[in-house]
Assembly symmetry: C2
Homo-oligomer: 380 residues x 2
């Protein structure tokens, strides 16, 4: 039976057909007037998505590459850095700081629990911090932090840089770089921005740009000063993934057309509907502060990850993610970012109803999709 392939991992995510077709166009060279014009448009559209007047730099690499560019370009060796550690990606940034010889203080929290502004305020009162590294939306636990409130308290502590991993938040959740006072914002192309993996984006506030002029680690490919010099001429210091950049425009123009507020609203609505559907089927969410970009759902007793995700994949051609590290087997994760509309969401809820039945669990057909539908109706 025909079953369309549906990708619901929290990155890579589904890419619009128009963007894919752009990727199939003949390759051109990037040191041309035409490309510079496109690169300038990319800048404008990224600034819109980041909600910033700051420059957004494009790195050919993953989101981790963008993080490294931000970090090595702005933080002096040996600096004291506060890292909120409450998920796999948060752990990566802690390991990262340590690999580069930083004095990393960790605010350790259980998986699924976000840091509060008060907790960060308390930590920073110890003084001497150069930066706070925070994951806005932690993909591994599907947990969102109250970034607006956290930024507010960080701003009370002078020139401490607030470095935000927005890899699964920017372009999905409300994110206002300038209004909130975020110093460094990072994302990747393969999440909310509806492109395959290969590009990372990073934006620096004037405070972070000033830090870049003063102190940095040894770097070259990740030296944002080089990118800053090149971008004045709408260019890049190293060969960029130019076909991805051109295709990125196609996806970003779609965001512009829907409006960023429209994207936020849709994503929130779809996530709320999905959670309602899951609850109606007896599931609980893993996170104490569920993100709207991705949902982590605890397995019901007696259901294995292998059977559940295997059935979704093999019988329904739907690919959702499992848990990472110690969360493996405990949860499954479903993406709501990017090229994903309300009926895509409904298909996953429906497929989960069929999967529960197949795995021998009692299920009232329509309970999940009905609950989701009720929430979705609020979008109209």
């Amino acid at each position: 039976m025909l079953m369309k392939y549906r990708l619901f991992t929290p990155g890579p995510t589904s890419v619009p057909e128009a963007t894919l077709l752009q990727l199939a166009k003949p390759v051109t060279h990037h040191r041309t007037t035409e490309f510079r014009k496109l690169f300038a448009e990319l800048q404008t559209l990224l600034q819109y998505v980041f909600q910033t007047k700051n420059t957004v730099y494009t790195i050919t690499g993953s989101g981790t590459a963008a993080f490294e560019a931000a970090f090595t370009s702005t933080i002096a060796p040996g600096s004291k850095v506060l890292n909120v550690t409450n998920g796999k990606f948060a752990e990566r940034w802690a390991a990262y700081g340590k690999a580069f010889g930083m004095d990393v203080k960790e605010l350790k929290l259980p998986y699924g629990e976000p840091a509060t502004a008060e907790q960060i305020d308390t930590e920073l009162k110890a003084g001497g911090f150069a930066a706070v590294t925070l994951v806005h939306s932690e993909t591994s636990t599907a947990t969102v932090a109250d970034l607006a409130a956290i930024a507010k308290v960080v701003r009370k502590h002078g020139d401490v840089l607030l470095i935000v991993d927005g890899i699964t938040s920017i372009g999905a959740l409300p994110f206002k770089m300038d209004e909130w006072g975020v110093d460094i914002a990072i994302t990747g192309s393969q999440k909310s921005l509806m492109l395959p993996p290969g590009l990372g984006y990073v934006s620096l506030s004037p405070r972070a740009e000033a830090a870049m002029e003063k102190a940095k680690l040894q770097n070259f490919y990740f030296d944002l000063k080089k990118y800053k010099k090149s971008i004045a001429d709408s260019d890049t210091p190293f060969t960029p993934a130019n076909t991805l950049i051109e295709a990125q425009l196609t996806s970003l123009r779609m965001i512009q057309q829907e409006t960023i507020e429209g994207v936020w609203k849709r994503t929130a609505g779809v996530a709320a509907a999905f959670r309602a559907g899951m609850k109606a089927l007896g599931f609980e969410m893993f996170s104490k502060s569920p993100a709207d970009s991705v949902t982590a759902v605890r397995y019901l007793d007696g259901i294995t990850d292998k059977d559940f995700r295997g059935t979704l994949k093999n019988q329904h051609n739907i690919h959702v993610a499992g848990g990472q590290g110690t969360m493996e087997g405990q949860i499954f994760r479903v993406n709501h970012m990017g090229y994903s509309d309300i009926y895509d969401c409904l298909a996953v809820v429906a497929a989960i109803e069929h999967t529960l039945k197949k795995l021998g669990k009692p299920v009232q057909f329509g309970a999940g999709v009905g609950a989701a539908q009720k929430v979705l109706s609020e979008l109209f």
Copy 2:
């Protein structure tokens, strides 16, 4: 009048239609059995192209990113490095070593002149070198070095690592990593390997792998130990540009079908034909040791870069490259790597005949293409 777009810059280069169509396919996730199988095939095909039994690591980033991964993963801080400096990319690697605090000794040669094995032997006799960094085919001057002979003398000097930028040689010119004794070989996806930019490849000899275990600079994204650990499971430590990887297979299978020796022969034949065509039209080559991957041609007196390349672009829809740095206005450069056959080469020679006429130079129509044809006939 219909004029097909023809890309003849020495990277990005033209990409096969089948590969472009692969890039237009729906995006899938990379942590799957299916992707691991493809990634394992990529490994085998890259080893074939590199002519090596060593592992080839895939970095999401440009060729410079691959160079940085090799360099920071194998060279101890403060090491003495011999860099052959005779072109723009060679200059980049010298700047690179300095940026990372290396003691960089430069063998400086005029643009267009390759280092000889004897010169390198003489330099290395001073002793204490950890590595030699060498551009095999220097794209900016279209100059090839005799890598086989150079590797032979480097091997006489004990554990000195031979780090080779093969960005415009591997997959175009004869390159035998194992047979010649190259320690670190680097290339990018957007040259001979017939893919858009976005992937860099690096392979380490057992000697280089041993160096990696002992001494390295601070790194994270470029830490090849992480890649080594992941590749045991046909995986990557960070989100890879997975759609590019899948498309890379399409292009590499074409190389496998033509055979690597067939690719080398075609590329050499096309380059020789192009040079013959240019000489018949009165041009001289810029390099004293012309590479077969890209040709740099000196402008005839009274012809400006703007008029010449402008006419090719605007009237013939053919994009060739100009000179970089001090070579700007002195030369134009034409690619022979990758998805480029004998009739593509002939079209450029023909278009140059028309361009000379248009720019008021005397031209005997057919002189260039005739000379090229004569050389091409040797391919059959």
